[in-house]
């Protein structure tokens, strides 16, 4: 009975991890089209959610190991118990939520690896972790992914500007917005096939460890369905904080740059997954945006924000490992420990959501005006006002993401 409870807890938590993975990674695909006004925010997250859902069904062959060789699993190595998976998942979920609260894009799979490493060290000793693989699969790729992606995006952006250059007459760079829709969709689809699969793997392996499935069996249909829905729901919820960081916090993105950045992300992710050098989608996407920012003359990068993001990448593994280790330590007390873990994990999750609701002081004035307006307006008026505001924002995004050539400048002078 004890084992059943653990497996149920693992499944519930894995599904929640899938959800956080979804809303953490919406930004990778959809931050730039939202920032340039290629897609309305709701439409963008909707498209990403559908593509994640479809992607999850397309690719359901799960890995035979959870950690991909980081932990010495299987014959001759340690057994990853469902309890360790549970502790590792708590670490991953909490780290995902903390980085989301700070608006930092960080890799969900690295968080999961970290949590599992922490749990395995406590549960099975230092020898259970292959630190060589940690270096070659996590640390070096984290250094190299942004470099490759930013060079690709930089070259692509430079080329795009050079080719479409028309100093005097009207340039048609707003046309890049149409292209952006396709490249971003490609990134979203790739994400769905990659990431939902990871959670399916975790649940399937937990079911095998619990003796509910035979070793080496494929994920049952309900697992696929639930994982697909969880990641799609997470994506649709939209991690707006991370979208803000990637869409505007790093650099001011024009349509040309958005297209180049997303094309570079899609190509790099596909090349890395098909030519045998795995790179994290999140790190590739952030790198591409920086590269695109450098590629436009006069484009400035907020290096402070970029630095914070990079620091977050390097803390991801140790931070989630620490939480995973702590949870495993408590879980070793037995059933009571598990319950304490679950309760504490839930409390932290709820605490983070409450913290995310609190508005910073600078916005409180705007909030007060909103509240005051709400009390005098009917519901329909409120809706209309809200709609009007988002229309204005959308129009402003489109205007700002176009680059006026001298031709446009002349036209505008005449009009005024």
């Amino acid at each position: 009975m004890d084992l059943t409870l653990v497996v149920v807890l693992v499944i519930v938590l894995a599904i929640f991890f899938d959800f956080t993975n979804g809303f953490h990674d919406t930004a990778n695909a959809m931050a730039t089209p939202i920032a340039t006004g290629a897609l309305r925010p709701r439409v963008a997250v909707g498209v990403a959610a559908v593509l994640n859902l479809v992607g999850a069904f397309l690719s359901t062959t799960v890995a035979s190991t959870i950690s991909g060789g980081i932990i010495r699993e299987g014959p001759g190595g340690v057994d990853i118990t469902p309890t360790m998976i549970f502790a590792g998942l708590i670490g991953a979920v909490i780290w995902n939520l903390v980085t989301w609260l700070r608006g930092l894009p960080s890799s969900s799979s690295h968080a999961l690896f970290g949590g599992l490493i922490g749990a395995a060290i406590v549960g099975a000793g230092f020898d259970s972790v292959d630190f060589g693989v940690v270096l070659s699969k996590v640390v070096f790729p984290a250094l190299l992914a942004p470099v490759v992606a930013s060079v690709a995006a930089f070259v692509a952006t430079r080329l795009a500007y050079r080719i479409t250059r028309r100093p005097v007459e009207k340039n048609h760079r707003s046309g890049f917005r149409v292209g952006q829709i396709f490249t971003s969709s490609l990134v979203a689809l790739a994400h769905g096939t990659n990431d939902a699969q990871k959670t399916m793997g975790v649940i399937t392996l937990a079911l095998i460890a619990g003796g509910f499935l035979r070793t080496g069996s494929a994920p049952p249909f309900w697992v696929i369905l639930v994982c697909a829905c969880a990641i799609a729901a997470g994506t649709y919820t939209g991690g707006w904080r991370i979208i803000q960081t990637l869409g505007g916090g790093l650099t001011d993105i024009k349509a040309t740059q958005g297209f180049s950045a997303e094309a570079a992300t899609a190509v790099t992710v596909l090349a890395s997954s098909h030519l045998g050098f795995a790179l994290s989608t999140t790190q590739v996407a952030s790198g591409s945006i920086i590269g695109a920012g450098l590629g436009r003359r006069g484009g400035a990068i907020q290096w402070g924000t970029a630095g914070k993001i990079v620091i977050a990448w390097f803390i991801t593994l140790p931070a989630s490992a620490a939480v995973g280790a702590l949870c495993e330590l408590v879980a070793r007390l037995g059933l009571g420990g598990l319950v304490i873990d679950a309760a504490a994990g839930l409390a932290v999750i709820i605490g983070i959501f409450i913290a995310s609701r609190r508005r910073p002081a600078a916005q409180s004035n705007a909030l007060e005006v909103d509240v005051a307006m709400n009390s005098v307006m009917t519901r329909k008026e409120q809706r209309d006002a809200h709609k009007k505001r988002s229309e204005e924002l959308f129009a402003a995004r489109r205007r700002l993401s176009d680059e006026s050539s001298l031709f446009d400048y002349g036209q505008r002078e005449e009009a005024s």
């Binding site: 992607g55 397309l58 690719s59 062959t61 060589g132 270096l135 070659s136 070096f140 190299l144 490759v148 992606a149 060079v151 690709a152 995006a153 070259v155 692509a156 952006t157 080329l159 795009a160 080719i163 479409t164 028309r166 007459e169 009207k170 340039n171 048609h172 760079r173 046309g175 890049f176 292209g179 396709f182 490249t183 490609l186 689809l189 790739a190 096939t193 040309t256 297209f259 180049s260 094309a263 570079a264 899609a266 190509v267 790099t268 596909l270 090349a271 890395s272 098909h274 030519l275 045998g276 050098f277 790179l279």
Partner: protein, 70 residues
Amino acid sequence: MIDWGAFLVVAAVSIGSAAALVALFAAGLRLLAVDSGNVGIRLTAYVCFVLAALGTLYGVYLIIPALHPA
């Protein structure tokens, strides 16, 4: 420990194909921007867009495992 060969291949392919895809789309836009009514130029622009679209479709093909063996 690190497969530098694989990394260099990934880097070269990424940079090369991102540049190719973006250049095609940009060339299409640039050619459409010429308002000369010349059918040849318009056609070339559409060829550029179609090639870029084929590149994207190849990406979809790579993403869906059912379409290619392992």
